[in-house]
Point group: C2
Chain length 412, copies 2
Amino acid sequence: MPILVMKFGGTSVATPDRIRRAAKRVGREVANGFDVIVIVSAMAGETNRLVGYVEETGPFFDAREYDAVVSSGENVTAGLMALTLQEMDVPARSWQGWQVPLRTTDVHAAARIEEIPTDNILAKFGEGMRVAVVAGFQGIGPDGRITTLGRGGSDTTAVAFAAAFGAERCDIYTDVDGVYTTDPRISDKARKLDRIAFEEMLELASLGAKVLQTRSVELAMRYKVRLRVLSSFGEMDADAGTLVCDEEDIVESNVVAGVAYSRDEAKMTLISVADRPGIAAAIFGPLSEAGVNVDMIVQNISEEGRTDMTFSCPTNQVARAEQAMQKAKDDGQINYHDLVADTDVAKVSVVGIGMRSHAGVAAQMFEALSAENINIKVITTSEIKISVLIDRKYMELAVQALHDAFGLEKAA
Amino acid sequence: MPILVMKFGGTSVATPDRIRRAAKRVGREVANGFDVIVIVSAMAGETNRLVGYVEETGPFFDAREYDAVVSSGENVTAGLMALTLQEMDVPARSWQGWQVPLRTTDVHAAARIEEIPTDNILAKFGEGMRVAVVAGFQGIGPDGRITTLGRGGSDTTAVAFAAAFGAERCDIYTDVDGVYTTDPRISDKARKLDRIAFEEMLELASLGAKVLQTRSVELAMRYKVRLRVLSSFGEMDADAGTLVCDEEDIVESNVVAGVAYSRDEAKMTLISVADRPGIAAAIFGPLSEAGVNVDMIVQNISEEGRTDMTFSCPTNQVARAEQAMQKAKDDGQINYHDLVADTDVAKVSVVGIGMRSHAGVAAQMFEALSAENINIKVITTSEIKISVLIDRKYMELAVQALHDAFGLEKAA
């Protein structure tokens, strides 16, 4: 029988009643003829409760024990989901990570999946079991101890299972009903997309649209797993949600798929840096070591051997960035006149694989912002994305203007 | 280094702060030169919460999934205890049942321990680890799935580890500070015993003194594990609590060690049973099948081929006993005139290995009750115990009178 992977997040299994509602969706797919692998998160709030206990033991904790503690939340949900399915006469059983065994690297609390053997679960499907409920977010390391994949690892678990079992599709049930052209809280013209390409989803995910974990999208793209995002609270509808798929599977699409934003950006400018070969490495090496996630980088035209270097990073990393730069200056690695931090900016981006074949998207974007008198502070572009930094107070206005300018309220 | 097993019950690890207090006790034993195996229960209330979730799924649940769910409570405590010990610079790590692996039978939710390999943990002790924290109450079945030992199984886990590792002693930390000559809530003359023999403890445990699980005492007796019961809330004192040990280790003792009681007893009398060989089997077979825990049995002198048969059972099993007897009568297996249930009785017992060598204990007991005008309804005796059924309203009075009569307020 074809295999379907269904993943339910914490809010979808927050109570026994919600687990029952999720189990009904699983039962319907079994009735549709699928053998189903269900990946479950911990009941909403559980992981935070357990992490809180661990943090109470002290500031520096053994990540192996952290993993042993926090993984228990998913184990509880897996057992309860199996019981609920059995109660509905659906043959089901639970697997904890070590029982699969889902093998990972030994990087506790942030392990990566190395291997998912399929024989054990396939044998049970062969014996008439219809649903394997697997505790998400966890595995077993080379030393036989429990590992976790880091927050959001349940999405990654689901995609990895879909890849390993050659599943027809991987359905991610969450508390939103799909991927939108932009945040509906900012624009009431936001429209749910029926389909979106992996590449677009990746850009949107990394730009702060918190629907899917970036890692899970990367994995889905690599293994060509058809990924569907849909709400566990909506109607049961075969066409619900948004399908994240290969771009060949998208027949018609707008040039721009969506407008994303990120509120917590800071713009940092190193003024009058002594320009020389290797200066970029001398700046961004220490920033990376200090754990600063540099996003955009712009270097101004060099004049008389000196240049201005601008970069962006999350607002809460500004202090860290300043320290790292000061230290690099004190150590004689770099030489600059001043470091100016502008923490009142936001990033707005348009994303779409259609840009590859359509010229003029950037011009159209700048024009739309100019028409609203919004000043652009930094611009960066990739093959399928254009991002700008602007004053934070214009962020909502910019998102709405761009959504209108690219006609996103209407499907292609 | 000598090995000590320390077990902490649910109230002793109910909060991160209590876990810290328990960890301090462990740290002290490490400083005393022991390698310590700590067995932990789930935080107080956790197991009930998890069982509640399972019961919400429906009335007939898969015990394998029940085990997978409820065992997670102990896993959380084990990790937190290891982290807390590490924070105190005590080298520690946690083990879940399947990691030891503690092998059990496949009777889920009521499994019995079959094997505890010691190599894994001993190797870690050899590498400098000082504390192995083991999640109590759980193991792994022949099919590789998680099993639990039933409620109270953490005491049994602790004793089994002490036996497997040849531990110096097994300390059970609980919320009472030892075993008393009787319930201090009933007699203010109740005295904590420094030592008690396994056999006495077994009788007291099965008579309703809820300090230790009967199974754990049986196991300790079989493998000669010195078992100490003590409070996790009292002073840290090497001589605290009560040592449950071989009777040879008790130099002086009273003839009677303690007075136990059980409030929820019912006396059932089958009146005018047709007496014939095999009649006892015809009565008690059906009762056993119906799940009635028959305790005392008394058969009156047979007259003209008919006899009265009296037995006792817990009050809440009376209806079940009546149904079983009616059915056996309807099926023609037995023939009786009437079944009279007296649900207003209580059982009071005196227990002591000294009875073996001292005649007259029974007479002394009956005299003390008679002096208080307490009527005895049923008597049974074993080698080290005499039990009587009396009207429930005299229970406290009887306990106090017997405690006085045998001089239990003073040590031998």
